[in-house]
């Protein structure tokens, strides 16, 4: 059920970004969601297509990249994926990893349409400077 809250937040964030660069319409949202967030992709998409009505994202598609648990070994620094709760470092066997991935919940980028793309892109670039 928290998929609705996430859909809402995605749309708010994307719409704010679109407004910031003077875009009229968001056509795609690219988000990254880690397995630890327990978000059901299908439910999120369903919620998204309901919540998007009447917003700048009204016709936007949602692209969800699922990410998995990653760790870095506290002893030897090796980065490795964690499958089936196997925490031990595959290189040195240490059991002191720090989890570095799998809890992402990010709007990575959006695709937006602007009336005069050149001038808006310029504005966006100057805003970033």
């Amino acid at each position: 059920m928290h998929e609705f809250a996430i859909a809402q937040s995605l749309i708010e964030t994307a719409s704010a970004e679109a407004q910031r660069v003077g875009a009229q319409r968001v056509t795609a949202l690219y988000c990254r969601i880690g397995v630890l967030r327990q978000v059901a992709g299908e439910l999120l998409a369903e919620a998204f297509y309901i919540v998007r009505d009447g917003t700048l994202c009204e016709t936007a598609e949602l692209d969800i990249e699922k990410t998995y648990m990653q760790a870095t070994c506290g002893q030897c620094g090796q980065a490795y994926p964690i499958h089936d709760w196997q925490w031990d470092c595959p290189v040195c066997g240490a059991e002191t990893p720090s989890v570095t991935g799998g809890d992402e919940l990010e709007l990575v980028s959006i695709e937006a349409e602007v009336a005069d793309e050149d001038s808006c892109a310029q504005e966006h670039l100057s805003a970033q400077r």
């Binding site: 059920m1 928290h2 809250a5 996430i6 937040s9 995605l10 964030t13 994307a14 970004e17 679109a18 660069v21 875009a23 988000c31 630890l36 967030r37 327990q38 709760w85 196997q86 925490w87 059991e95 919940l105 990010e106 709007l107 990575v108 980028s109 959006i110 695709e111 937006a112 349409e113 602007v114 793309e117 808006c120 892109a121 966006h124």
Partner: protein, 222 residues
């Protein structure tokens, strides 16, 4: 055109959680998020342990539920401050709702605040409320496969409490199997076995809580 965003979608919740934690830190309150499925025995655990803490800590409870004030009434009967947070059908507490609850508590006169989350083994685990510690609860009645089925409930727990252990003879619940699963998911958390109805295992829980709370300023208050 493509616009690079890279923003945390839970920014609003995480900001509110940070504010909650800062507020609790300023007031020297230790806050525990109590998580578990519906009927896991979270409220019964609080009813059993709070009286043991009353001499050394000033305790309060934020009670999260979908509806009714039944749980808050049970805590109120213990004589400690309690605020009922109703999610109106929502499946988890969020940091903003907790923030509203905090405003209704005398938090500057507390040592320990329990937040009893909505009974649900899934969503609540994904929401930071601003707590300092997490206790995850699993009852014998739920079955010994639930640690493996809901691993994220237990992954970040500082303490795991198995409840209703007196029911074990009536079930095929396998303590060794569940302990193996829990250890795999969370190698560090202590695991306690409790029976709230006859107070077995409640002393170790009280000891754990006392040792994980900041020192009380109760002595200086008295």
């Amino acid at each position: 055109m493509k616009i690079h965003v890279l923003k945390n979608i839970f920014q609003r919740n995480d900001n509110a959680a940070r504010e909650n934690r800062e507020l609790l830190d300023t007031s020297n309150v230790t806050c525990i998020n109590l998580l578990g499925g519906a009927g896991a025995g979270k409220t019964a655990l609080l009813e059993a342990v709070i009286p043991l803490l009353a001499d050394s800590l000033r305790v309060a409870v934020l009670e999260g539920d979908l509806a009714t004030t039944k749980d808050a009434a049970r805590i109120d009967a213990l004589g400690v401050p309690v605020v009922q947070l109703l999610t109106d059908g929502g499946c988890h507490l969020n940091a903003t709702l907790v923030q509203q609850g905090l405003q209704r508590l005398p938090f500057h006169e507390l040592d320990l605040l329990f937040i009893e989350n909505v009974g649900n083994p899934i969503c609540p685990a994904s929401f930071d409320l601003g707590e300092h510690l997490r206790i995850s609860v699993l009852s014998i009645a739920e079955g010994d496969d639930k640690a493996a089925k809901y691993p994220i409930l237990f992954k970040d727990a500082d303490l795991i409490v198995l409840t209703k252990c007196d029911l074990q003879p009536m079930t095929d619940f396998d303590f060794d199997a569940v302990t193996r699963d829990l250890r795999r998911i969370n190698p560090e958390a202590e695991i306690l076995q409790t029976q709230a109805r006859n107070a077995a295992g409640i002393d170790p829980l009280s000891t754990w809580l006392l040792s994980h709370c900041r020192p009380s300023s109760m002595a200086s208050v008295k």
